[in-house]
């Protein structure tokens, strides 16, 4: 039984096909990367998996259960967690409260009251180095801190599948390496399959993903182990040589 299975998933906006008959399988505990230039459909794909958009065609299965028509909040309850590329904090609430919301309404819904949620929040905040800032109003955090909070909040949902969206953008290389190592460790400990979506920060991908799916114009271009995918001539062509340049600089 695969954790997540996408079959022929398609989404159109008017005349534009944002996601074009994409198939994808994600196994439990896997570390997958999704890569593609701007406009290739990555974010739309995320939105389809997390339920923000509904598919026009195709099906989505989670642990063999058909979730194609499930609303977003129920997908959170079965174990799909997500962080956003541009962080979406619950602005007027404190950092701690933000993460507690993830804990309360994620996979543990119904089992987590205020106290337990706040404890869980403290736990994930300290993992991500935000414990000291937990009482700050989330709107007052720096952009990088907001991103860290996003991840903490998504982790507090106790997901089985975590969709990370450009989580490392804006960080310097040393921090990225540390972040990648931390996420991998947490993923292993808590048995979370993590999908990391990346557009330019290849460094975050190379040390992280076991497998990479490259998207282009809504279609899946290739789905293969990391090095194989990134060195594929079709992929390099799509990125206009940017990939080889990045790898050299890494």
């Amino acid at each position: 039984m695969s954790l997540l299975k996408l079959q022929g998933v398609t989404k159109r906006f008017g005349g534009l096909v944002a996601v074009d008959h994409v198939d994808l399988v994600v196994e439990e505990g896997e570390l997958l990367g999704i890569v593609g230039p701007n406009g290739s459909g990555k974010t739309t794909l995320y939105n389809l998996i997390s339920g923000v958009y509904m598919c026009d065609e195709g099906k989505i299965f989670f642990e063999d259960q058909d979730i194609t028509g499930l609303p977003p909040y129920e997908r959170a309850h079965i174990g799909i967690g997500r962080s956003f590329q541009i962080p979406r904090p619950f602005g007027a609430a404190t950092v701690r409260e933000n993460v507690a919301i993830g804990a309360m309404f994620g996979r543990m819904i119904g089992k987590v009251g205020e106290k337990k949620a706040l404890d869980m929040a403290d736990h994930y905040l300290s993992l991500l180095g935000l414990y000291d800032k937990r009482h700050k109003i989330s709107n007052s955090l720096t952009p990088v801190e907001k991103k860290l909070m996003e991840i903490a909040r998504a982790l507090a949902m106790k997901p089985k599948l975590l969709l990370m969206d450009e989580a490392m953008a804006g960080m310097n290389p040393k921090d990225i390496d540390g972040m990648v190592a931390l996420i991998k460790k947490i993923g292993q400990q808590e048995k979370i399959a993590i999908v990391s979506m990346v557009e330019h920060v290849m460094r975050a991908l190379v040390n992280f993903a076991e497998r990479v799916m490259v998207m282009h114009q809504g279609k899946k271009l290739i789905d293969a182990p990391t090095q194989e995918a990134l060195n594929d001539p079709k992929v390099i062509e799509v990125y206009l040589g940017r990939l080889t340049l990045e790898e050299q600089n890494a």
């Binding site: 923000v52 609303p71 129920e74 007027a92 409260e97 919301i101 309360m104 309404f105 994620g106 009251g113």
Partner: protein, 330 residues
Amino acid sequence: MIFQKYSSFLLALIVFAVLFAIGMVSPSMWQPIALIMFYIAMGQAFNIFMGMTGYVNFGYVAFLAIGSYGMALGVSRFYQTGIGLWLLFVGFALAIVMAAILSLLVGGIALRLRGAYFAIATIGVNEGLKYLIEGGKFWGGSEGIIISKPMRATFGRHLANSLSTFWADVFLFIIALLAAYLTFRFMHSRVGYALTAVREDEDAAKVMGVNATKYKLIAFIVSSCVAGLIGATTWCLKSTYVFPEDVFEISYTVEAIVIVMLGGSGTLLGPIIGGLIYGICKYWLAVLLPGLQLLILAPLIILIIVAFPGGIVGVIRERIRGTVLDQVIV
């Protein structure tokens, strides 16, 4: 630690106790105190929905009205069954049930809508219900319901009188207490956290697992039921009649908005402070400048929206941020 969590609730209790004490000790103060409590209670009930969700129920007063109809119907239709004081229980129960049904109907439709559309849907509830009653000529139509006779018949002149002049207000205190308690419980439970998420970013909240419509509906129904109780006691029991032209008066919704925004929406103490200040000012203004309250209130609302969106509690919070007091006032 425990003190921190309960501190605002305790403060609310103290305010209520002080007001009650003043009223009991000095009988001439009872009416003004009752008026202040009305505004506090009305603001609290309004805040349960608006403060927590950030949506404005423009048809708010319709729920006060239907609650008063509940009490009126309960008393006028059942007083001959000879159940004595249980008649009041019937009245209050009817008020809650009718408010709940109305809020379920309205909320079920309106709460799927976003901001502006929600406002439009609720603005019509008030007028719509009034025209339904007047046009359909039921529940007394445009002539309303008078319960002074049934009350005298069931309770005897003396008790009926003290019910209207004293006990109706005591019930109000109890309802205000209930409202404070409910607000407190909500804020520290999943409902409160869910609604905070919805208020701040509804789409992100859904992705985080919050069933936005369900929680909005819970807040809406509870807010409406408390409002119904307030209407039942302050409008019906106290004045012994219900006239549609009176009870569907949109100015009460305006006052509720002012009270909540003045004090600070989304907080426990906000509506209490707001109600206190507003009640005092209104009593004073009614003596000095009768008939001009709304004229002064309207620009006041605008001023608050533009300059002090967080209300008085918001201003205080800014001043004391980072100090020990910060944890206390929630």
